[in-house]
Symmetry: C2
Subunit: 369 residues, 2 copies
């Protein structure tokens, strides 16, 4: 044991130096403080991949920074209401939050394009837009007036079309249909004559079972199985035209983010991106297993939306997007950028992903149906 | 200014404490040393996304660790020959390397499944296998006898089928065809009666232009445009059945990786994953733009391989994979795991990605063709 004097330049801080390595430790700055942050989310406690993804973000960030950032994660309602997350981050009540941009559409209409666009980009497409097509910069611009900095933190992949208590044959069948469906998808359903119902997660199953609503969408097999919807509705429709690759977000109070040293900002960005793709992988792998269980154990009736019905929804979606884009300048700017990038991806996808799926189409079939 | 005594528990280490923040600096370890590593790659200098991706990995790792790891990156041949990368990492000549697992198929046959499988998983599928389906653990097992630790570090997405000097109508057209094509894809072409030629990157264009070879595959529009292949061959075929989502790797000498403190190991893993998806995004965005240029400026003739030809190649690919899997126990184990996961992804993809691409098929079309 030896004692040394250390020169400390500032403040009332106490620092403990414990050189734990047998290898020679060189001169290094030790100006480190521990950042203890709070994160609030929109998700119920323990919700797989979504809430557990937010918790994973905190855990990995602590690991990668050697404990320099410790984030305590609160599920929806534990500290602030689920839909109060954006405000809590914006006003600095907490340093960060996790949710999806369409939850704050009332406050930031342009945000809708960064979560999910009906008949829009899938996971691979929207992530390419964020990281290599200018999408993330636009998102930062949209949130800047609120002192909020966004990062993609997850992606559900293509969702399912939803659970219906009756068969859907034509667009007419949406007339008078009471459906739980949020975001732009809900606006499309309303345009088709449906009644859009918003319900807290805990009330959806009972409402569907009792016929208070006729249909609901949720996420995909992994989450839908857990909710037990197969006991309350006969028809499980695909594909999820309304959410083809929904992006989940982690958001930071600008002042808090900027208070971090550069290397910790870099760590936050890296772990957000890591969690983004970890979550997509979890969804892909988990949905496959859950779907098999729904088919073989619960004999679920999987039905593809008819082509004509999808085409009609698509026309309504296009109208809806143009109307939404007309509401403010930022929405228009984002919508035009989104469309432009979608075209670029479409050209490339026409000789890559799309024809490749066609070639191996027979491996993409529902066994047991 | 104040002086304090600090208790130092071990070793001959010297530590300098400079509290640079005006904010209270709390207790923190200062046992840090700077790791100065070398990375060797299989890529030519400045090769977009591939070599620049390896350089990005080094840069981001330095950023995220506040300079605690500094990696000097050497392109193929600068320090060791391109195909000497695995050995150099294995024997500790350097701490890490970047390439693709099929380059060391002679040494680790099972490695082929971790780079690219003809008619195998696309980028989203193989990444789900790595991170959420046990794929990465198998990969670690395959490399363990060589004291090498692998991490996915990039993905090309679906590649192009290649440049051909003649039209390919049936499988018979491969008989006697001289084609530059590596890996398992090359074995399939050989089985179809073709002559597989391996050439350094710098010799491919001239060989194709002079008719020394009849065909070559490379990567996708972004890289193929740069190589000028459109000047040497008339037909640009798709889709790239032989490489539907090629994974690029970063590999570490086991002793070097394990010498890192836990938080730096976590940083290495996070930045490898970040770079993996950054690269896929760059490929997706970049290929779209380059393809447009090939079509509109260079009037390239894009041709889809005929269905019957693809089906014949697929049968040969299946035979090839079984033969390769029979060569050693690890290959068989990996092949069976790969097939099983592919089936799981196929079931889920049959109601998600595949039908979604079908719904928006008209947006996936080649304009200007």
């Amino acid at each position: 044991m030896e004692r040394r004097d250390f020169l400390k330049k500032t403040g009332a801080a106490a620092a403990t130096v414990v050189a734990g390595s047998a290898i020679a430790a060189p001169a290094v700055l030790a100006k480190e403080k521990t950042y203890r942050w709070k994160m609030v989310t929109t998700w119920p406690p323990n919700l797989p991949v979504l809430q557990t993804g937010a918790e994973r973000f905190a855990k990995r960030l602590e690991e990668v920074t050697g404990g320099r950032i410790k984030i305590q994660v609160f599920a929806g309602g534990e500290l602030v209401p689920p839909f109060g997350v954006f405000d809590a981050v914006s006003d600095g009540t907490v340093e960060c939050g996790s949710g999806a941009a369409y939850y704050w559409a009332g406050k930031v209409p342009a945000g809708q394009w960064f979560s999910s666009v009906p008949f829009g980009l899938n996971a691979q497409g929207i992530n390419s837009w964020f990281y290599s097509g200018g999408g993330l910069e636009l998102w930062e611009e949209a949130y800047a007036p609120f002192n909020v900095i966004p990062r993609p933190q997850g992606n559900t992949g293509v969702q399912m079309g939803g659970w219906f208590r009756k068969e859907m044959k034509t667009i007419e069948d949406f007339k008078g249909l009471k459906m739980r469906i949020p975001g732009l998808g809900g606006k499309v359903i309303a345009k088709a004559g449906g009644t859009v119902v918003l319900l807290p997660a805990g009330e959806i199953f009972t409402s569907l079972e009792r016929g208070v609503i006729d249909a609901t969408e949720w996420v995909g097999p992994l989450h839908d199985l857990r909710m037990g919807f197969y006991k309350a509705a006969q028809f499980y429709y695909y594909p999820g035209w309304h959410e083809p690759g929904t992006c989940l977000e982690v958001i930071f109070n600008k002042k808090a983010y900027e208070s971090l040293p550069k290397e910790l900002q870099a760590a936050v960005d890296a772990i957000a991106m890591e969690t983004n793709f970890w979550s997509l992988s979890e969804f892909e792998a988990g949905n496959g297993a859950a779907l098999q269980e729904l088919i073989t154990k619960h004999k679920v009736n999987l039905v593809r939306f008819p082509d004509a019905l999808l085409n009609d929804l698509r026309k309504l979606a296009k109208e809806t997007l143009e109307e939404e884009a007309d509401k403010d300048a930022m929405s228009r700017k984002v919508h035009e950028a989104f469309k432009k990038f979608k075209e670029q991806i479409g050209v490339w996808g026409s000789v890559s992903e799309k024809p490749y799926y066609d070639v191996i189409a027979d491996e993409y079939s529902l066994k047991g149906q």
